[in-house]
Symmetry: C2
Subunit: 429 residues, 2 copies
Amino acid sequence: MTVETLSADSNAVETPEALVARIAADGRAAQRVLARMSDAQKAEALRAAAKALRADEAAILEANAKDIAAGEEKGLSGAMLDRLRLDAERLAGIADAVDQVASLPDPVGSVIEESSRPNGLRMSRVRIPIGLIGIIYESRPNVTADAAALCLRSGNAALLRGGSEAVHSNHAIRAAFAKGLEEAGIPAAAIQLVPTQDRAVVGAMLTAAGLIDMIVPRGGKSLVARVQSDARVPVLAHLDGINHTYIHSAADPKVAKEVAVNAKMRRTGICGAMETLLLDAQFPGSAEVVSALIEAGCELRGDARARSLDSRILSADEADWDTEYLDAIASVAIVDGLDAALDHIAAHSSGHTDVIITKDDEAAERFLAEVDSAIVMVNASSQFADGGEFGLGAEIGIATGRLHARGPVALEGLTTYKWQVRGTGQARP
Amino acid sequence: MTVETLSADSNAVETPEALVARIAADGRAAQRVLARMSDAQKAEALRAAAKALRADEAAILEANAKDIAAGEEKGLSGAMLDRLRLDAERLAGIADAVDQVASLPDPVGSVIEESSRPNGLRMSRVRIPIGLIGIIYESRPNVTADAAALCLRSGNAALLRGGSEAVHSNHAIRAAFAKGLEEAGIPAAAIQLVPTQDRAVVGAMLTAAGLIDMIVPRGGKSLVARVQSDARVPVLAHLDGINHTYIHSAADPKVAKEVAVNAKMRRTGICGAMETLLLDAQFPGSAEVVSALIEAGCELRGDARARSLDSRILSADEADWDTEYLDAIASVAIVDGLDAALDHIAAHSSGHTDVIITKDDEAAERFLAEVDSAIVMVNASSQFADGGEFGLGAEIGIATGRLHARGPVALEGLTTYKWQVRGTGQARP
C-alpha cells in the first residue's frame, strides 16, 4: 500500500485547494450529522473506536513497523524514532485514552446563561460544536487518536494532517477509528486524515477560511510559527513556553528549592518547563536554589549578580532571556523586588506559565493580577501546566493567544455558543 | 486646523507600520495602567468623559459643522450627511450613552469557574481585558464615543480609526474623552484616534499582530469585507445579515403576519432585518402575510410557487436568495416542511439571525438546535438582534464568526481570561 493509493481519486488532477475543499465539504456534512448526536451516542462511538484500536493491534503495529523502517532508512534521530514507535503497551494506552475521553462530560448543549427580558423574550446562550477542526501535527501517531477523540466528544469533525514519518501508522489508527464511528452510525468522514503528504495541502488548509473553522498545530516551534504566520483560519496554539519562576524575598526556602528544581528538571523538554529563574535580591536562600539546580544536572546562565552566587553559573547574553531551551538549561537573573520581576516578565514572558514563590499573600495576589500570561501560579511548579493536571481530563493543546480559549484547552475550548431566543409573537417597537 | 497637524510628528518621515507600532505601544502601556484600575475608577473616568462631552458641546458642534461643510462640498448623499450630523440633542444622547456604559457591571475580575485538585492546587479562571482593540469605522461620529466607552469599561485600550468625513468631529469627541480620562488618572493614550487619514494606516493596523489584539470593523459591507480579507489580527464582525423568517405550518397566523412585517419593515437598513421569508406550503395564511408585507411597502421577489399567492410578487432569480437588500425588499420562497426550510437556511443564511414562527414546540426546538446561526429565534422579530434588546446594555457589534464571541457582543465579549493557580509548594510528581 503506497500513500498515493490512499487518495480517493489519485489519478485525477486535483489542486491542493480543490482537495481541501472536497474533504472539508465531506467533513462539514459529517459534522452536521454529528451535531445532532446525543451525548450517549458520541460516547458510544468513542468506546467502539477504542475497541477497534485494540482489535486492530496487529495491523496498526505492522503499519508502524513500516514507518519505523522508513525512518531508520532516512536516518531519523533516536528521539524521533522513539516518538514514532508504537508497541502493544503504547497502543493500549492510546485506546485507554480514547475511553477516558468518552467518559468526560459532553459540553455541547449546556446553557451558559439564561435571562428573561421585560417583553417576555427568553434568552439563552447554549454551547455548540465549533464545526470542522484542522489538526496539523508531526511524528507522534498518538495525536491521531487523541485529537480525533477530543473533536468527536465535543461534536466537531476533524481534518487530521500528520507528519509523513508516521503516515502508515496514522492511516491504520484512523481506519480503526472509522470502524468505531460506523458502528455508532456516524459518517466516517467526521474524522478524516488528509490523503496525501503533499506539503502544499498544509498551505491550502491554513487558508481555507469558511471551510475549516479552526486550526490546532501540534509540534515544534517551526511548525507552529509557520501555521501562525500563514493561517487565515483562526489558530489555537502557543509558540513558546518561556516560563519564569520568581523567588520572592518572602519565599519559603524549601518550597523555592523544590519547586524550582521540579519546574526545570522533572521533564526539561515540555512547554511548561521553567526557562528563567528570577531570584529576588532580598531572598536569603538563592545560593541554595542555584546549587540544587546545578546538582540536579541543570546548566545555568546568569547575569553578573547571579554569577556571584555560584562560580558554576555561566555567563548569559541578552538572547538567553528570550530563549526556550527545552533542555537542562535555564537562565537566572537577580531582580530587585516584585516590580522588577514583573517588568522582566512583561518584557520576556511568552505568556504561557509564570510562577511566584512567596509566603506573602499581598505579593502573591499582585503577581496573579498583574502578570498577563495564560497561566499564573503561586507556590507551584510550572510543570502543572497541563489539561489533565487542571482537571480537564485531557487537552488538545495549550493556547497563549488572547481570544477564545487560553491555557490548557480541552472540550470546552472546542465549543462555541449560539443565542436561542424564545418568544410568543414579540415584534420590536 | 488641518488633519496633518493632528499628528504628533507630522514632519518626520514615518511609515504606516512605524506609526501603528508607535501608537500601539502607547496604547498598550496605557492599557497596563488601566488593567490595574478598580471598577469604580473606570466608571468614574467614563462619567468624567460624559461630563466633558457635555461641557465641550460648542467645540464639538463647531468641529462637526466643518465636517458637514466639507461633506456637502464633496457631494455626500443626504443619508450620509445625516449619519455625520451632530446637534445638541444627538450629542446629549452620546454623552448619556457613555454614562449608561459607566453604570454597566464591570466584567473584569469575575471568576468564571473555580476548582480544587486532589493535590491541593486551587484553580480559577478569571476574566481579564483583551488588551488593545482597534476599531475601524465609517462616518458616524457617535461610534468614537460608544466604542471608547465600551473598551474603557472593560479595561481595554482603544485605537480608533474613523472615516475621513468625520475627522474633525472625531478628534473633538476624543479630546473631550481625554479630559475625562486624565481627570480619573488614566493615561489619555488609553483612547487614541489614529492621527492621520492615510489609508495605508488601516492596512498597517490589520496586520499588526502582537500589537493590536483584536479589530472590530463598524460599517458597510465593503469595509467589513476588506478587514476580514486583509486582517492578520483576530476580527470580531459580521459581513452580512441574510436573515430568514420561516413560517411553519403550525404558525399562529396573526403572529406570522405581525412578526414578518416587523422583521422586514420596522427598519429595513439594519443588519437584523429579515431578507428572506420562507412560507411553509402547509401554512394556510401565506397569502395574508404576503399581502401585509406588500401593503406595508415591501417589494417581494418570489419563486414560482410564491408568485402564485399574489400577482404583485416579482420574479426572484438565484442571486436573490443570497442578497442582503437592507431596503424595503425581501425574497420569498415556498418550502415543503421544516427539513426543506432547514436546508434552505443552511444553504443561504449568513449565520446572523434566523427565525421560526410556530406553535409546535417540537418544530421550534428542532429549529433552535439545528440552525447553526449566531442567533436563532422562535416567534419573535429578527429586529431584536441587538445587544440592548438582549439585556447586554450596549453592543460593540454583532459577530457571526465561530470563535470567542457570537451574536451581540458587549462588555463580556471584550474580555478574555487567565488561569490563576494557588498552591502551597506543590511539585509535579
